[in-house]
């Protein structure tokens, strides 16, 4: 009974930030030019993440994967004082893990440790960031693993579907680049490329640190004093270039697999705007409608979904997703449901119930230091980390008419991508939405019967 679950965050107004941060224990500190977001929590696990802004804007097309590889090598290849085996053995003994991730707008170097081992783990983390050995053998190992992972992404239907959709929408812009690289670019990367790139990557203007855990502020600052506070000022972060959906498009890729995968993409508002959180809230209700109509009532899919994809910060998207053996009918119903909402709006009960679900999701996010660090970092990269902590105070302010207005404003043109048996669909099956404030097309939801 897996239900695709989204951890969602809502903020109604961006103009009403108050002292809630102090109440929730989150604090922003500027320490010698380095921005630190620190949240004290009661649990035993501590997460520290150094965020590096820029993402796909930092690399050229030929460098796809370079930043991710550089960060992974820094954290996994040992330091100038501890070779990679000694580093890994010490981390194992402490129960501390290090990992690097890269996304379209930023990258992250993360350390997760137990509270009791915080100081020792920090020393390792800072040493890996500031004094990585950039071991050549480990470089080859990580690069080859990334090539293998990239190939596996191509064969994974969901990953490949997302890649096809991203290429279709963002082709020619920074957002079309794959942060973890593609086989052809990874194969050409050399150790010297990595060393040179990493040497000029980190800087206080481009980076900020998020720490979530049951540690004290003075101890944290003391640890930073002789380590990350020494980072150079560096250059201003860049923002990735992007493209938007401008006209109806259909991209069909034939693949002989057991079911068929579909992703519809529409333009959505930026998260750090009044519309962003409202739209996310609306998409969450759309998800529920898809679940009921496509799965429960019509048995068209195990995994229908609709969600706000905010991870391309400069151009978020609305995603309409399904895996199905009946793509024709599914496509019809997916658009009919949206048309129905555009015509009749969300119900007051849906809005009331969704507020409650949001609270549950919010507190579930607050159960883990890693979730919180991720959300705080995302909000900061989007505009302001306080967005994360504001939810409890703002959630009740969502009004149904505002929600309907925001939904209609953005649910316009769909860019469709299909991966599956080509003979199961025709281009005309990929419907577009009825214009707002106009009569619905013939295929009104209530008239659509299961075939």
């Amino acid at each position: 009974m897996k239900r695709i679950h989204q951890l969602t965050v809502i903020v109604f107004s961006l103009l009403l930030f108050t002292d809630i941060a102090a109440q929730t224990g989150t604090k922003e500190i500027n320490y010698e030019g380095l921005k630190i977001i620190f949240k004290k929590t009661p649990k035993e696990v501590v997460t520290a993440s150094l965020f590096i802004k820029g993402g796909t804007a930092n690399i050229t097309e030929a460098q796809q994967g370079l930043e991710a590889l550089s960060l992974s090598l820094a954290l996994g290849g040992g330091t100038k004082t501890l070779d990679k085996d000694a580093f890994a053995a010490q981390a194992d003994k402490l129960g501390t893990s290090f990992n690097a991730t890269a996304s379209k707008d930023y990258s992250r170097m993360t350390m997760t440790c137990l509270k009791d081992n915080w100081d020792k783990s920090w020393v390792m983390f800072a040493d890996a960031i500031l004094n990585p050995s950039m071991n050549e053998n480990e470089f080859k190992v990580i690069r080859d693993q990334m090539i293998s992972a990239a190939k596996q992404q191509e064969s994974n239907p969901d990953a490949n579907l997302r890649k096809l959709a991203s290429d279709q929408l963002f082709g020619g812009s920074d957002y079309a680049k794959v942060p973890n690289g593609i086989p052809s670019t990874l194969e050409n990367l050399k150790i010297d490329d990595v060393k040179k790139y990493y040497a000029s990557l980190l800087g206080k203007k481009k980076c900020f640190l998020v720490v979530v855990g049951n540690i004290d502020e003075a101890g944290l600052l003391n640890n930073i004093k002789n380590t990350l506070a020494k980072l150079p000022v560096g250059s201003e972060p860049k923002k990735p270039s992007f493209k938007s959906v401008t006209e109806p498009t259909v991209n069909i890729k034939d693949r002989a697999i057991a079911t068929n995968y579909i992703l519809g993409t529409l333009n959505a508002p930026k998260y750090f705007t009044t519309d962003g959180p409202l739209f996310e809230f609306a998409m969450s209700i759309l998800y529920d409608r898809y679940f009921v109509e496509l799965r429960t009532k019509r048995s068209l899919s195990y995994a229908p979904a609709a969600f706000y994809s905010k991870n391309t910060i400069e151009q978020p998207t609305a995603s309409l997703y399904i895996s199905t053996i009946d793509p024709k009918q599914s496509l019809q119903v997916m658009t009919d449901i949206i048309n129905d909402i555009k015509k009749n709006g969300f119900t007051e009960k849906e809005v009331k119930d969704k507020k409650k679900e949001y609270l549950t999701d919010y507190y579930m996010t607050n159960e883990a230091s890693a979730f919180q660090a991720g959300q705080l970092g995302f909000c900061e990269a989007s505009g302001n980390w306080r967005m994360f902590d504001e939810i409890n105070n703002k959630i009740d302010l969502v009004k149904t008419p505002d929600l309907n207005k925001t939904f209609n404003k953005y649910m316009k043109t769909i860019d469709w991508t299909y991966l599956g048996k080509e003979d199961k669909v025709a281009k005309e099956d990929f419907k577009q939405l009825a214009p707002s404030n106009e009569k619905l097309p013939v295929s009104d939801l209530k008239k659509t019967k299961k075939q």
Partner: protein, 458 residues
């Protein structure tokens, strides 16, 4: 006389605490209702949430071929009409009203259902759970609609490039008892399932004395025990032990005469993948080895282990590891490797060299043994951080071993010696029959001319 009757009555309605809780954390309390329902309360006030979870000794291990996949289908039907809620739509309405995050999972030896919601509404959550677990209706129309949904989950699994390898591998591992380890089931069985079959499962396994209820979050044990007693005490227990009445058949040893090695191709496979499997220990017959197996696996994950250095650092493989899956009924030991295409054939010989040395005196150091234990203990500490997930961890160990096994795990780990590790290797791995499967795409098979997998190891 009147007094004694009253005491008698009380003994059937009041839960009693089960233990002094030696190695148990102070915030975890176990009770048992007179009908046999175990109630585990985890007190954690860090967020104002509660997770209510019920788990049942059920899963594919109870399924003969004609029922294969139906524990999973049953799990889906839990989220549909019951005596208090007339349809799935109304069921989902109630989920939304209570702001619940919900799910269920089916494994080989456990089925669990869980709701996370605001802790102030724990009573509503318990009532909701009670209606679903005790009074499902299995409406014909709802089943008809759910069968293809479950089959759709199956089709998604089949769309994975690794499916051909895993499916064939599991058939070889479990032979004519394949259904007992095949959670996803059989297409035909799923698509033709009727409410009658659901009721057969219910009448066999869905009893309080075959279940555990976990309530985890911002709650107090005493209060929860009262609430649970009020709601669940009249759930009638079974008068039989389902596992005595319908015993789980024992898995037969692998027979080398059964062509245990194979090569399978898929046009969607981009990287070669090797999987080797042995029949390992289980918690009924060799509980000590189940702990030793974990230590051994964790030695081999360490970057400075000979296993990793010989295969990964030397460029023979891109990924390699070994895993033991704890079970009550024959846990599998699984070794996987992604050979480096640049050293495809030599990688198998290098792997064989490692297998030959698994019990050699210098294959791992004392320090690596100690580190493996620390890693396992720390992993359990991390597992307690997210209380809503920790509830799942607890019911899993309840199902596949016991709660005492879980809470005593760290002390048992610390007893593991080098001699234990060598004994485990010799008893279950080295020289023992194993299943070997290799996944390639057709052009890789042609280019590398692979037809006999065993020949690659020699």
């Amino acid at each position: 006389m009147k007094k004694s009757i009253l005491l008698f009555a009380l003994s059937f309605t009041v839960a009693f605490a089960l233990r002094a809780q030696g190695n148990w954390p102070a915030n975890i309390h176990l009770s048992k209702l007179p009908n046999g329902l175990q109630v585990l309360v985890v007190e954690d006030n860090s967020v104002p949430l509660v997770t209510v979870e019920i788990a049942v000794h059920n899963g594919s291990y109870t399924e003969p071929p004609e029922y294969n996949g139906l524990s999973h289908l049953y799990e889906h039907m839990f989220f549909k009409a019951n005596k208090d809620i007339p349809s799935q739509e109304k069921y989902l309405d109630r989920i939304h009203e209570l702001g619940i995050s919900f799910n269920g999972t089916t494994g080989t030896e456990r089925v669990n259902y869980f709701f996370t919601l605001g802790s102030k509404e724990v009573n509503e959550g318990l009532q909701f759970l009670n209606s679903a677990i005790r009074y499902p209706l299995f409406l014909k129309e709802e089943m008809k609609k759910e069968n293809p949904v479950v089959d759709g989950e199956f089709q998604r699994a089949e769309s994975s490039p690794f499916w051909p390898l895993l499916d064939k591998f599991n058939h070889k591992m479990w032979g004519d008892l394949f259904s007992r380890k095949n959670v996803i089931g059989d297409h035909q069985v799923i698509l033709t399932c009727t409410p009658e079959k659901m009721n057969v499962i219910k009448d066999k396994y869905y009893y309080p004395n075959n279940s555990i209820l976990v309530v985890a979050g911002a709650v107090k044990n005493d209060d929860i025990v009262k609430k649970v007693t009020a709601i669940f005490a009249d759930w009638k227990p079974s008068e039989f032990d389902p596992f005595q009445k319908w015993p789980i058949p024992e898995f037969k040893p692998l027979n080398p005469a059964d062509s245990l090695s194979f090569v399978v191709t898929s046009p969607n496979a981009q990287v070669p993948a090797l999987q080797i499997g042995w029949l390992g220990p289980d918690t009924r017959n060799d509980i000590k080895s189940t702990v030793v197996a974990d230590v051994f696996s964790y030695i081999l994950t360490q970057k400075n282990s000979k296993f990793q250095k010989s295969l990964i650092d030397s460029g023979y493989a891109l990924n390699a590891g070994i895993n033991y899956g704890t079970q009550q009924h024959t846990g599998p030991i699984t070794l996987f490797m992604i050979p480096n295409p640049a050293k495809f054939k030599p990688s198998f010989k290098m792997l064989q060299e490692q297998l030959n040395q698994f019990d050699a005196p210098d294959y791992f150091t004392d320090d690596q043994i100690a580190t493996a234990k620390i890693k396992l203990i720390n992993q359990e500490k991390y597992g307690t951080e997210v209380t809503s997930n920790f509830a799942h961890t607890l019911t899993l160990w309840w199902a596949i071993a016991s709660l005492d096994y879980y809470f005593n795990y760290a002390s048992e780990l610390n007893k593991v010696t080098r001699a234990d590790l060598n004994e485990y290797v010799r008893k279950y791995i080295k020289g023992k029959p194993c299943v070997k499967g290799l996944l390639l795409n057709p052009s890789q098979q042609t280019n590398w001319n692979v037809t006999d997998l065993d020949a690659l190891f020699n």
